[in-house]
Symmetry: C2
């Protein structure tokens, strides 16, 4: 068996109303490119097969009554999702919705069979609420840092980090940080050449140091974790 045989093949991403677009599409743009170099499958997983929008449904989040957002089409619901090697969990205001529990349950039940889980922004809140970050080092976005202890009292939250790796859990800071994390993950798992190729096609200038986090400084966060 070659090393190639053990590379992850089956990827999934969970989506929910009012997810943050770039949390999903930054990392997936890199994986889309990677899928031209390796055989890979993507499942887009939600509560139902209805399109899922980024729109700010809660009027308090949309004070000017904008009609602005994008809808993505799920391929599977929580009951039909296939076995996965890798699960991506985005964040966004929708992570705080009252009806997010089925998604959290899906993350909890899926995790034991994953090779890797990666969260972006407040996606780590969902993973924390699923209990899978307990006892682990993890990070989250910095503008809502005050909230992390409530959702994950047993998580070793790292305040100054663009992303954090602990075993097979990868967690990133806010939004754009997910793209840096995913490219680092591709480099770790698939190798330098694949990561360089994705970066080249994306014309992206990577942030290579997971500990360099100017946003933690912007909010004057104490050093924790």
């Amino acid at each position: 068996m070659s090393a190639q045989d053990s590379l992850p093949v089956n990827f999934g991403v969970v989506v929910f109303p009012t997810f943050q677009a770039l949390d999903v599409f930054g990392p997936l743009d890199a994986l889309n490119i990677l899928s031209r170099r390796h055989g890979m499958n993507l499942s887009i997983i939600a509560k139902s097969l209805e399109p899922v929008s980024t729109k700010y449904g809660d009027p308090s989040l949309n004070p000017f009554n904008s009609n602005f957002g994008e809808s993505i089409v799920p391929t599977h619901d929580f009951t039909t999702a296939p076995p996965l090697d890798v699960l991506l969990v985005p964040g966004g205001f929708g992570t705080r919705a009252d009806d997010i529990d089925p998604l959290i349950n899906f993350v909890r039940e899926t995790y034991p069979n994953l090779k890797y889980i990666l969260t972006v922004c407040t996606g780590s809140w969902l993973a924390a609420r699923a209990g899978i970050l307990d006892g682990k080092r993890a990070t989250s976005n910095k503008s809502a840092w005050d909230g992390v202890k409530a959702v994950g009292p047993n998580v070793k939250w790292v305040s100054h980090a663009r992303w954090v790796i602990d075993g097979n859990t990868w967690t990133s800071s806010g939004v754009s940080a997910g793209t840096d994390m995913m490219l680092a993950w591709i480099e770790e798992v698939f190798g330098k050449e694949d990561a360089a190729e994705c970066t080249r096609v994306m014309e992206y200038q990577r942030h290579l140091d997971p500990n360099d986090d100017p946003f933690a400084d912007m909010y004057n966060l104490p050093r924790e974790g």
Copy 2:
């Protein structure tokens, strides 16, 4: 009438099969955030209302037969799109499809009534083929630079630029450059505070110099334009 009254309100993005995800969702993530600060509408415009996928439909682009991509749901087709102030034109392999002409016609017919058009990556190829870049300075992605003169023989192509502004046309280099361009456009049109707020929420480290283009150097492109 306050200055606010003249701000763009109606935004559109054209999508087509095998568009590049981040060309669309980098800039739109910034605009999604901006739509919480101003009343804004988004139309997602395609040939029909069927979901449009990033998937590499052409087998030559998908040598490992991956089943990997994301579908976005159009809100309008080319015949039903409302009047627009701003049109975003992404790139991707799908720009070279045989049946892209109706989209190019839409761009050509829509442009005279726009306040601004912004293209990302090979989105500028579509704008060039629509004739709206003739006599103007513009850029495009750098990995396919050889192709620009064929699609736009009368365009003043600028080889070393992350983005280029000429009147109301804004064109960016590849993929990630679209996010830098959009944040610069928000700063120019909506102001520094709005741009800073979008950047903060995105935890994004902007590239502020439109002339700093490491990818033109990577490909050893001659200085043109």
